[in-house]
C-alpha cells in the first residue's frame, strides 16, 4: 500500500491553501477536514455533557435513599445520557473520523458530496438544541430511557415527546446523509490502484457501517413517527386498547437497535486494526479475514434483535433461534480478537498512547463481549435482564470499547490533524487514569447486577450501598480524567508542542502519512498512484 506523491503536487497545494476566515469558514465549509474537525469537537462537547448527566446519576446513587435529584429528573438524566452518548458522542465522533480520514486514506481530494456534508453536520447541533431544550418545557424532557419503549413514550410521557421525536428525525437524517456520502466517496473516489481489498480496514469497516446506517436509520424514523402518531394523533400501533401491540414496539425498535450497536463498534475495529500493526511494526494478521468478519457481523446483526426481549414471553423456538444467532456473532468477533493478538505476537512493540488505548480496547472489549455471551443465554438472561449486569456489559463495550478506540484514534491522528505532537506525558496520565477509573466504575456493576439490582431506579436496596459508592467514585474519577484529554487536545489545537513530521509513527502504513503534517487544506488534487 505504499504510494508516490509528486512533490510538485504539494507545492501546488500550498499555492491555493486560502480559505474564508472566522466563523463563516466553519458555517459554509465544504472541506472534509473542516467538517471532520467540527464533528469531532461537537462529539467531544456532547461526550462531556452526556458524561455530566451520568455524574448526576452516580451522585444520586452514591447512597441509598433519595439524595440530590427527584426521580422524574433522574429518569430524564438516564434518558438524555443514553441519547446524547449514542447519537451525540459516539456516532458523530465516528463520522468526524470518517470525514477526516476516509478521503486521506483512499487518496481522494474530498468527500464525494461536500455540500451535503456541510448540511449533515450542521443539522446535528440543531437536533441536539431541540432535544436539550425539551428538558425546559413544562412536564420535563423525555424520561422513558433512550429505548423509548411504548407505552412509556406514548401513554405516560410528557408533551415534550414531540420535540424528542423531531430531534430524532433530524439526527437520523444527518446519519443517513453522512452514510450516503461515505459510500459514494468510497465507491467512486478511490485513487487509481486502490482496489477494494487494498483499502485500509478503517475504510472497510466504515463502508459496511454506512450500509447498516442506511438500512436501519429509516426504521428508527418509522418507529419514532409511530410513537408520535400514537401519542398525538390517536393511532394505535402500540396501544392494546386500540388493537395494537406494545411488544411490536420492541421488535421494531430492536430491529433498528441491534444493528445500531454494531454501527457504534465496527469503526472501532477499523481504528484498532490500523493502530496495532503500526506499533507492533508488523502488517495486520489476516486482513481478508478481518473484512469478511466485519461483513458477517453486519449481516448477523439483523438476525439477533429479539435477544433484547427474551423476557417478553416468546415461544421457546424463537428464543433458541435468537440465542444461537447471538452466540454465532462471537465467532467473527473472536476472529478479530485473535487477529489483533496475532498481529502483536513477536512484533517489535512500543507503547505510545494510541497503542495503550488500542490494547486496552482489545482486552476490555473482550470482557464486554464475554458478558454479552452470558446475556445471550436465554434461561440465565431471565435473571440478568434489566439489572446492572446489563449496564456493566454495554458500558464495557461502549466506553472501554468504542470510546477508548475513539481516543486511540484521536491520539494516533492528532499529529496529522494539528501538525504538532501531543503531550505524551499528559496523554499517558490520561490513559492510566481512564483505564483504572473505568474499571472501578463498571466492573463492580457486574456484581450488583448478579445480586439483582435493577437498572433505571434512583434508589436501591441497602445491601448494594457499598458497591454503589465505589462505582460512583469510579464514575467521578473517570469523568474528571477526561479533562486531561481536553487539555491535551487544546494544547494541540493551540499548536503547542513539537512539530510533527509527515509520518510520526515509525510503523504506520497508509496514504494519510504521505501528506505533510498538518494535512494541507487541499490534499490529493492529483490522485496518488497506489501500487
Amino acid at each position: 500500500m505504499s504510494t508516490v506523491v509528486a512533490d510538485a503536487h504539494d507545492a501546488h497545494d500550498e499555492h491555493h491553501d486560502h480559505k474564508p476566515t472566522g466563523i463563516k469558514r466553519w458555517i459554509f465549509t465544504t472541506n472534509h477536514k473542516d467538517i471532520g474537525t467540527l464533528y469531532l469537537w461537537f462529539s467531544f462537547i456532547m461526550f462531556l455533557l452526556g458524561g455530566s448527566f451520568a455524574l448526576m446519576i452516580r451522585m444520586e446513587l452514591f447512597q441509598p435513599g433519595m439524595q440530590v435529584i427527584d426521580p422524574h429528573f433522574f429518569n430524564q438524566m438516564t434518558t438524555m445520557h443514553g441519547v446524547i452518548m449514542v447519537f451525540g458522542a459516539v456516532m458523530p465522533a465516528f463520522t468526524g473520523l470518517a470525514n477526516w480520514m476516509v478521503p486521506l486514506m483512499i487518496g481522494a481530494p474530498d468527500m464525494a458530496l461536500p455540500r451535503m456534508n456541510n448540511w449533515s453536520f450542521w443539522i446535528l447541533p440543531v437536533a441536539f438544541l431541540i432535544m436539550l431544550s425539551s428538558m425546559f418545557v413544562p412536564g420535563g424532557g423525555p424520561a422513558f430511557g433512550w429505548t423509548f419503549y411504548a407505552p412509556l413514550s406514548t401513554t405516560y410521557s410528557a408533551d415534550s415527546t414531540a420535540l424528542f421525536v423531531f430531534a430524532m428525525h433530524i439526527m437520523g437524517m444527518s446519519s443517513i446523509m453522512g452514510a450516503i456520502n461515505v459510500i459514494v466517496t468510497i465507491m467512486n473516489m478511490r485513487a487509481p490502484g486502490m482496489t477494494y481489498m487494498k483499502m485500509p480496514l478503517f475504510v472497510w469497516t466504515w463502508f459496511i457501517t454506512a450500509f447498516l446506517l442506511i438500512a436501519v436509520m429509516p426504521v428508527l424514523a418509522g418507529v419514532v413517527t409511530m410513537v408520535l402518531t400514537d401519542k398525538f394523533f390517536g393511532t394505535s400501533f402500540f396501544a392494546a386498547a386500540g388493537g395494537g401491540d406494545p411488544v411490536l414496539f420492541q421488535h421494531l425498535f430492536w430491529f433498528f437497535g441491534h444493528p445500531e450497536v454494531y454501527i457504534m463498534i465496527l469503526p472501532s475495529f477499523g481504528i484498532v486494526s490500523a493502530i496495532i500493526p503500526a506499533f507492533a511494526r508488523k502488517p495486520l494478521f489476516g486482513y481478508a479475514s478481518m473484512v469478511y468478519a466485519t461483513a458477517s457481523i453486519a449481516g448477523l446483526s439483523f438476525l439477533v434483535w429479539a435477544h433484547h426481549m427474551f423476557t417478553t414471553g416468546m415461544p421457546t423456538v424463537a428464543s433458541l433461534m435468537f440465542m444461537y444467532m447471538t452466540m454465532l456473532i462471537a465467532v467473527p468477533t473472536g476472529v478479530k480478537v485473535f487477529n489483533w493478538v496475532s498481529t502483536m505476537w513477536r512484533g517489535a512493540m512500543t507503547f505510545e498512547t494510541p497503542m495503550l488505548f488500542a490494547i486496552a480496547f482489545v482486552i476490555l472489549f473482550t470482557i464486554g463481549g464475554l458478558s454479552g455471551i452470558m446475556l445471550a443465554i436465554t434461561p440465565v438472561d431471565y435473571q440478568y435482564h434489566d439489572t446492572y449486569f446489563v449496564v456493566a456489559h454495554f458500558h464495557y463495550v461502549l466506553v472501554s470499547g468504542a470510546v477508548f478506540s475513539i481516543m486511540a484514534a484521536a491520539y494516533y491522528w492528532l499529529p496529522k490533524w494539528s501538525g504538532v505532537m501531543y503531550d505524551e506525558g499528559l496523554a499517558k496520565l490520561h490513559f492510566w487514569c481512564s483505564l483504572i477509573s473505568v474499571n472501578i466504575l463498571f466492573f463492580p456493576m457486574h456484581f450488583v447486577g448478579l445480586a439483582g439490582m435493577p437498572r433505571r431506579y434512583p434508589d436501591y436496596a441497602l445491601q448494594f450501598a457499598d458497591i454503589n459508592a465505589i462505582v460512583s467514585v469510579g464514575g467521578f474519577l473517570f469523568g474528571f480524567s477526561q479533562l486531561i484529554f481536553l487539555a491535551v487536545v487544546l494544547k494541540c489545537a493551540m499548536k503547542k508542542g513539537e512539530k510533527a513530521p509527515a509520518k510520526p509513527w515509525e510503523g504506520a502504513e497508509g496514504l494519510e502519512w504521505t501528506v505533510p503534517s498538518p494535512a494541507p487544506y487541499h490534499t490529493f488534487d492529483t490522485p496518488p498512484e497506489v501500487k
Binding site: S236, V247, G313
Partner: protein, 190 residues
Amino acid sequence: MSQQNPNSENSSIITKLLASVVIMFAFGFALVPLYEKFCDLTGFNGTTKNTAAAEREGMQVDESRWVTVEFTTRADRGAPWSFRPEVRSVRMHPGEIKVVNFIVDNHSSTNRVAQALPSVSPGEASLYLNKTECFCFEQQPLTAGETAVMPMRFFLDPDLPQEIQRLTLSYVMYDITDQAQSGQTASRSE
C-alpha cells in the same frame, strides 16, 4: 473508480441509496401488518381469534388428559370498574365445552363502553383455545353503576400439544367510551 465523470456515477449510486432509504422506511411500517399476520399464524403474542369458533361436529373429548385453564383479569389503569372471573381456574379435557362467567362492576356514575382484550400464555396455546361465545368479541355498554355478568363459552382443540398442561387466559378491560363515541372501533383488527 475512474474520475472521468464522477457526477453521473455519483448520482446513480445516490439514487440507489436514497431508494433504499425510502424502502427501509416503508419496510418499518410494513412490519406492522406483517407482525400481526405472523402472530395470527403462530400465536406468537398470545392473541386469540376475535371471532366465534364453530363447535365442531363429532369432536372427540380427550378424556385421557386434564388441562388447567387459569383466568386473570385486570381493569385498565384509570378504568372505573372492577373486573373478575367467577372462578379462578377450571380443569377440563381437551374437546370439552366450558362456560365461565366474568363479572364487571361499573363504579362510575356515567354510562361507559368497555372492551376486553384477551391474551393467552404460553402463546402457542392461543391457537388451540377456541371461543364459541365471548363478551370480548364486541364492545360492552355499561350503564352507570351496572354490574354485568358476561359469559365466555370455550373449548380446547384436542390437537393441543401434549406438553401444555396449564394455560392462562388473561383479559384486560379497557375504557373505550371516548373512542366509541367518536366512532372509532377498538377491537383488534382481523
